[in-house]
């Protein structure tokens, strides 16, 4: 579904992603962990087409299409979704109106007619229930005055409404209380259908206990330096990242010593 090869990207002239490789197949859940500032959110931003980021090398194919060539809105319409680490507040845009507009734009892209008001409401109710998302929040302005946790839940609510093929969750767990974490994870698990894929960026093993990943990757200094199964997350929880940092220094040194 998603195939990233040797992806390099920089922001304000500073290289952040330094040759990143990742393969995600349909139906898989991949977790990405890694220390602060290693480039996790940058990867998410580059994949969704945020302007400030310059791709300087490599490629990212989504279902065979060059993702990096598409506008942000077309990436979303193709089925890429990002649950933001820091969702934006947009006073004056109602959550519901926003969702309806987004849904219909995606449908129009696929050549489908607008959703009837009745169908939209039905879908809204269904997903609200799935995620135990407060109807009062759905009716408010987009994220305006939402608590940190409420914003994160709204991201997942939008995910449920838009039903993307690939969802990237950037630290959705941070800011969620224990109950909310369980509810959100349960919701995400129910949304899994064997065809859609998830990339879950997190610092904590706890989320991965609920949403069990097929693969765990460590992103360090703009590269994936280690990949494994869910046991790797446990190991990281125990040992931290230092042992990997040493490894990575070695590889960097090796690269310098042994020109290819």
């Amino acid at each position: 579904m998603l195939s990233i090869k040797n992806l390099k990207a920089s922001v304000e002239g500073k290289e952040i992603l330094k040759g990143l490789n990742l393969e995600v197949n349909a139906g898989e859940v991949h977790a990405i962990m890694g220390p602060n500032g290693s480039g996790k959110s940058t990867l998410a931003s580059v994949l969704t087409g945020k302007e400030a980021y310059d791709v300087t090398g490599g490629q990212a194919l989504f279902e065979g299409k060059d993702l990096l060539d598409l506008s942000p809105e077309d990436r979303a319409r193709e089925g890429v979704f990002l649950a933001f680490q820091y969702p934006v507040e947009i006073p004056g845009v109602s959550n519901i109106n926003f969702l309806k507009t987004a849904l219909n734009e995606i449908r129009a892209y696929k050549g489908l007619p607008n959703l009837e008001a009745k169908e939209f409401l039905k879908l809204l109710k269904e997903k609200q229930k799935l995620l135990e998302f407060d109807a009062a929040l759905a009716n408010r302005s987009l994220n305006e005055g939402f608590s940190g946790g409420e914003k994160k839940r709204n991201e997942i609510f939008q995910l449920a409404m838009l039903d993307p093929k690939l969802a990237i969750l950037d630290e959705t767990d941070s800011g969620l209380d224990i109950d909310a974490l369980r509810i959100v994870s349960r919701g995400v698990n129910k949304l899994r259908n064997g065809k859609n894929s998830f990339i879950i960026i997190t610092h904590y093993q706890r989320l991965l206990e609920y949403i069990v990943p097929d693969f765990v990757h460590v992103l360090y200094k703009g590269q994936i330096v280690k990949s494994g199964t869910k046991e790797l997350a446990l190991e990281l929880e125990e040992k931290g990242y230092d042992w990997l940092k040493e490894d990575s220094h070695e590889t960097e040194a090796a690269e310098i010593l042994l020109p290819r």
């Binding site: 969704t48 087409g49 945020k50 302007e51 506008s71 942000p72 809105e73 990436r75 979303a76 319409r77 979704f81 990002l82 933001f84 969702p87 934006v88 947009i90 006073p91 004056g92 845009v93 109106n97 926003f98 507009t101 987004a102 849904l103 734009e105 995606i106 892209y109 302005s141 939008q158 838009l162």
Partner: protein
Amino acid sequence: MEHRTTQINSTLYDQCIADYEVRSPLFAAEAPEVVAARAQAIEQFKQLGFPSTKVEDWKYTNLVPVLKENFELEQDAEVLTVAEALLAQAKIDLLDCYRIVLVNGKYRADLSEVPAVEGLFLSSLSDAADRPAFKQHFGKYIDLSKFHFAAANTALFRNGLFIDVKRNTVVEKPLHLIHVATAGAPTYFQPRQLFVVGTSASISVIESYVTDGAPVFVNNVAEIVVQENAQMQHFYIQAGDANARYVHHTEVYQQANSQYNNYKASFPGTSLWRNNMNIALDGENVESHLYGLYLAGGHQLVDNHTIVDHRKPHCNSNELYKGVMKDESAGVFNGKIFVRKDAQKTNAFQQNNNMLLGKKAVVDSKPQLEIFADDVKCSHGSTMGQFNPEALFYLKSRGIGDEKARALLVHAFAYDVTEKIPIPEVQSHINALIDQGLK
């Protein structure tokens, strides 16, 4: 002479002066109040002339190009036919209202639905001459020594509308006034209105403006009296084409316990919109709200000058004007709040926020407070901004295209104003005009 630099020499000025001379023998047939007002006004106009940019209040609005176009002063016109399609341009979908049509200022009963409401009187200004409310209020409230165009209008107006809402009369359905301006050759019109909302009466008036592409320069004056405990909801919806120029003066006089709310929305088209909006809060417990939304485009100039004059204690005023400036449009906002010595316990707030979308768009914003009382709460401020790139990206990341995303953000920006519009059909109409104006 020194003051000449504050005036623009133009044939239109000469025409105005000559018109007064020619018509003054005929004025004798009018109400004595009108005759006196005209005589005083022509003297003021001779002093003031048409303002140049040397006049502080006209610093950013240069009338020279307009006056160079050689507009002819309106004459006593025959009754013109008006295409229904033209009136349809101003129609507000689904709104149940009384349609009142004015053509070049002239009230046209034949095109209007005359409201059959007990206590509501509506006629042309010339038919109102012996109504007590007319005699009592006509020409009483505007300081003609300060307002060039109001002086010209008062001296020379030909046509107008009078609305008198009697004591305790509640007019349920809004009146929708459609102002049509049409002419063969470039013409300068000076229509006038007087609305008197009597004690404990209430009314909603919506005013829309249409032109048929004719080059017109309209100098409109409206006097509005909101008597004790009365309420008025007043809407201006301004859209037109580039051949139309408007200078609008609205003078509101409020008595104790009254409420006056003005909602003004203007859109791309008309190349010049100058609005003078003055409100005097001349009684205790008066409430006034001024909401403005200007969406400007092309080379349009939208100039809003407001004065909120707190004369008595315990009054509240709130003013919020929001501007969205596209292309090479120019905006002017000048808001003065006066709180006089007597006006203790005043709450007066004023905000002007602008979104500059065009790289060459400009706004000159000047909020002013002059406070002579000591126990008051007042604030003012103005801001300039652009699209928030984070918000834009957030919307796009959900599949919303660039144009729609920008439109959503403009609606969001305007929302503080549009949400205040108390008639849902008018609100939808204005939201649709925003979408249209953004295209």
